[in-house]
């Protein structure tokens, strides 16, 4: 019976030793992997989001649309100096008198990566497909919603007829795909097209990079397109590596495994600022952080729904709330100074569209004394507990829904609750998951709620969501995010969309913001800075967008990765931009690991020998 049993202890020890061997193996292989010489220059970006689809007709997520922008050119792009529209595939364009006909003249040196020339046929077919096939409109259908017809007049001329004039025609950020590749795919897939993820690589595109490899959850690889009409990109290949945890990605930047990280927190930036060979880029915000006040939600037919506080339909109360809050304090306390206190709706980086109230216009600036006076005059008397009661007898206890996943929102929420208590309003702070917040918004079961948008160089969309047309057809289906509806605003909105003169349009856009400010439903608090960092020993030079105070990740053009120039280290092999770079530390570390394991091995051997002796 006893002899059937293996000497368990020995077995266990042996296996433990092989566990140690695993460690040893791991540390030893550090050397060959790191010493792997890179023949070409590689730029590695740490990304956190997964790929939904490489199908440009359906891809939704930011990481994918960002990557696809480098793979497929579009008609126009954004000038990195001025943020204004600039030629890309279209060399020039003109409009008819009535503004309904747009003629785009294509450049003659644009080719797809399979050698076929990009012609007006490809452009017209791309737009037509989005107009005809609902499944193909999922990603970019908004751009063609007002198109009547699209025709290829000749090889190099595309004519688009519109229902109504639209000023956004210079910002059609639609990836133009090769018809000869995609037409057969659409035919073959039929109804299943929405599920087609285009993972047949390399991709045939026209952009400065070619998508060549995707290992889900690990990395995405892009190779430079040396024949691109704008000229070959600076780096030979571009890797996007997954880091599910941002702090780990920051460590990877320190170690040199990645060249660039984005969407950093204030704390991460602070820790990186003093590190050699790492440059921190703090860019002007593209996003605004705001809270909206439920003015009494209605559907388009005027049916009331939700359970917003009834007193909030009073403009005086809404304005007093805005006056009770100090945006400067929120920028300082909520974002540690990494944000700019807001006035208007559009961030200041868009110099011509930005508007900020000045002088007499700025009547809603922080002034708790005036706010208290306004409320006293309007009949909002304070109760025994200091909380005001509306003239209709409703106590001013307001729910405030805050994005729990956005630290700056959470901080801002705390500040707001404190400030509003000063003017006799009690806040029921509901810091919740995005899903709960979104349900509260669409069911109109909120009083104050946080929101925020990233504003594109063309601001049309962020204004469109506050027109009366964005109200829900029936509860729960709102297109906008504030239940805002104002006749004057709608007229101004239509006017800016029909105005093709940029200066005149900017003027109307300013007026739109003035209305939003005055009505105090959509209240912008701050423009948070964009924080990112890169290794200067990998990237020698990179184009920001815009050049002054601009960002690297999330550009509207492909300027950053196209322009990035490799630094010496990235070219000279020895790890390069991809590699870990064999530092003395690796060698010492590996040596130390080996020594420790040898010592452990020796100990085990000695013990075993002594056991053997014991047995005899």
């Amino acid at each position: 019976m006893q002899t059937d049993h293996p000497p368990t202890g020995t077995l266990l020890r042996r296996t433990a030793a092989s566990g140690g061997a695993l460690l040893l193996l791991g540390s030893l292989t550090a050397v060959p992997a790191a010493a792997d010489e890179a023949d070409s220059s590689t730029l590695t970006v740490a990304v956190a989001q997964q790929v939904d689809s490489f199908n440009p007709f359906t891809a939704q997520l930011a990481v994918t649309t960002n990557i696809l922008r480098h793979v497929y050119d579009s008609l126009t792009t954004v000038n990195p100096q001025t943020n204004e529209p600039e030629p890309s595939l279209a060399e020039s364009w003109e409009t008819s008198e009535d503004g309904l006909t747009w003629t785009f003249n294509l450049r003659d040196d644009a080719y797809f990566t399979d050698g076929e020339q990009l012609t007006a046929e490809d452009v017209a077919w791309t737009f037509d497909t989005m107009m005809e096939n609902e499944a193909a409109a999922v990603a970019n259908g908004n751009y063609v919603a007002g198109f009547e017809t699209v025709t290829a007049q000749d090889e190099a001329t595309v004519v688009i007829e519109l229902d109504e004039p639209q000023a956004t025609m210079e910002s059609l950020r639609v990836p133009i795909v090769p018809r000869h590749v995609w037409e057969p795919i659409i035919e073959a897939e039929g109804d299943a097209f929405s599920g087609y993820t285009a993972d047949d690589l390399p991709t045939v595109g026209s952009g400065p990079f070619v998508l060549t490899e995707h290992s889900r959850g690990e990395h995405i690889r892009l190779e430079a397109n040396p024949d691109h009409w704008r000229g070959a990109p600076g780096f030979d290949e571009l890797y996007f590596r997954y880091y599910s945890e941002k702090d780990a990605a920051v460590e990877a930047l320190r170690s040199g495994e990645v060249s660039f990280v984005y969407e950093l927190t204030d704390a991460q930036v602070t820790s990186l600022e003093t590190v050699d060979d790492i440059a921190v880029n703090i860019a002007d915000g593209k996003r605004f952080q705001a809270f909206t006040i439920n003015p009494g939600a209605v559907t388009r037919d005027g049916e009331e729904f939700g359970d917003g506080h009834p007193a909030l339909s009073d403009l005086t109360l809404r304005q007093a709330i805005v006056m009770g809050i100090d945006n400067e304090e929120i920028a300082q306390q909520g974002s540690n100074g990494q944000a700019v206190a807001a006035g208007g709706y559009i961030p200041p980086r868009y110099t011509d569209f930005h508007w900020a109230p000045e002088g007499d216009e700025a009547f809603l600036d922080f002034d708790p004394g005036a706010a208290n006076e306004m409320l006293d005059d309007a009949g909002y008397a304070r109760g025994d507990d200091g909380v005001r009661v509306s003239p209709d007898g409703d106590r001013l206890e307001l729910r405030m829904h805050v994005h729990a996943d956005r630290p700056d929102n959470v901080q801002a929420g705390l500040v707001i609750a404190e400030r509003l208590a000063d003017i006799g309003i009690e806040i029921d702070n509901r810091t919740v998951d995005p899903g709960i917040l979104s349900d509260a918004l669409y069911d109109a079961e909120y009083d104050l709620i946080f929101t925020g948008w990233t504003v594109n160089p063309d601001p049309d969309y962020v204004f469109s969501i506050h027109t009366c047309g964005a109200l829900p057809d029936e509860p729960g289906t709102m297109q906008g995010d504030a239940y805002f509806c104002d006749e004057e605003y709608d007229e101004l909105y239509e006017a800016q969309l029909a105005e093709y003169d940029r200066r005149a349009r900017a003027e109307i856009v300013h007026q739109l913001q003035e209305v939003l400010y005055r009505e105090a439903v959509v209240n912008v608090l701050t423009y948070p800075n964009i924080m990112e960092a890169y290794r200067t020993d990998h990237i020698a030079d990179i184009q920001l967008e815009p050049a002054e105070g601009g960002n690297i990740w999330g550009q509207d053009g492909y300027w950053a990765w196209w322009s990035a120039e490799p630094a010496e280290a990235a070219l000279s092999g020895a790890g390069g931009a991809r590699g870990t770079g064999v530092s003395g530390g690796v060698l010492i570390g590996t040596g130390a690991g080996v020594l420790v394991l040898l010592a452990v091995g020796a100990l085990v051997l000695i013990r075993r020998r002594s056991t053997v002796e014991d047995r005899e």
Partner: protein
């Protein structure tokens, strides 16, 4: 062993089958009992699985938030685009219809389609299964061996110096947050600082650009070291503690006195006699943990960016990607149920005392 019961009022024994004589354990009665036992376990497992499928479906529907809104958040989409997405995901159907479709798919081993990845959930799971089994499997095996080895030593001389140190260290790591330990290891051993900078990679499974089976294997091994170490450090204590207490129970047993009386050395008594018997209670634990291998170690996978099922689940919950999370939920639950079933079936083979 046979229970003697006084016959009261001449009521027949249940089933009317005479109890088999203990001398013939292989008789037909025993086969029937074994069959009944196995059948019972199988039924329990099937009922659990069914409950999980139903509960999982409705549980995830209660999650707040709307997948279409979450996926289009911050994008300049029109109402038509949202409606089309909703239609593609089948979310415009009534709930009962969605459930019927889902249940019908399950019968064909079709777990539906992921909203965000736009691929069949089964394909996504199969793609991630390998990395997870590799990481969590290695971690579980190493942790079990380490825990059992140290536990056997600690339990042999409870209260001694070795016991106190080894148990103390294990409990220390057991109480350390996984996430924190992982990040600490990255800072110390993987980043460009610490006393051994750049020794290991900060995340992922293979270096990009690595090809060839040998190079891939080496690169994977190198990437595994930190996650496996983290996982082992955090979980080996449970094996240690169970082994320790189990061995302490066996310590006073008569058969050990016999073994000692035969003149066997103390180490041999422990190794050949005490440990094999003390191992029995750990079997359940090992099986339970093996069942959870599939669900992975979500935190370890997240902090080390390991492309496994845990990370997949995490990415699905944020949307919520209903197709993906309910599919993963079923697979996770099924693997635990399956391993429990195996434990129930294997245990009697290992321990004659609990044979039916």
């Amino acid at each position: 062993m046979r229970t003697t019961r006084p016959e009261t009022g001449g009521a027949p024994e249940t089933g009317g089958v005479p109890a088999p004589a203990p001398e013939s354990p292989a008789g037909p009665g025993r086969t029937a009992r074994v069959a009944a036992y196995v059948l019972g376990r199988l039924t329990t497992a099937a009922v659990s699985l069914f409950a999980v499928i139903v509960a999982g479906f409705f549980l995830f529907r209660i999650l707040p938030g709307d997948p279409v809104r979450a996926m289009t958040e911050g994008r300049e989409v029109t109402a038509q685009q949202r409606e089309e997405l909703s239609r593609q995901f089948g979310l415009d159907q009534p709930l009962w219809q969605q459930f019927l479709d889902y249940a019908g798919g399950l019968l064909r081993f079709d777990l539906g389609v992921s909203f965000q990845y736009r691929e069949p959930v089964v394909a996504l799971i199969l793609e991630r299964l390998g990395p997870t089994v590799l990481l969590a499997g290695t971690g579980t095996v190493v942790a079990a061996l380490l825990g059992l080895l140290l536990g056997a030593r600690a339990g042999w001389r409870p209260g001694g110096r070795g016991d106190r140190v080894s148990t103390g260290v294990a409990l220390f790591f057991w109480s350390v947050p996984t996430f924190w330990l992982g990040l600490l290891l990255i800072v110390l051993l993987a980043s460009g600082r610490g006393f051994m900078p750049n020794l290991f990679p900060t995340g992922g499974m293979v270096d990009p650009g690595v090809s060839g089976p040998l190079e891939t294997a080496l690169s994977t091994a190198r990437h595994m070291v930190l996650p496996v170490t983290t996982m082992v450090a955090v979980i080996y204590a449970q094996y240690l503690m169970i082994m320790r207490s189990s061995l302490m129970d066996e310590k006073g047993a008569d058969y050990l006195t016999t073994a000692r009386a035969k003149g066997l050395r103390d180490a041999l008594v422990r190794r050949r006699h005490a440990v094999p018997n003390a191992l029995l209670p750990t079997v359940t634990l090992v099986f339970l943990n093996l069942g959870q291998v599939v669900s992975g170690v979500i935190l370890v996978e997240t902090v080390f960016s390991w492309p496994g099922l845990g990370q997949l689940f995490y990415s699905g919950l944020r949307v919520p990607d209903l197709g993906l999370v309910q599919g993963l939920f079923v697979v996770f639950a099924a693997s635990v149920i399956l391993m429990n079933l195996l434990a129930d079936l294997v245990y009697p083979l290992l321990d004659p005392r609990v044979r039916p």
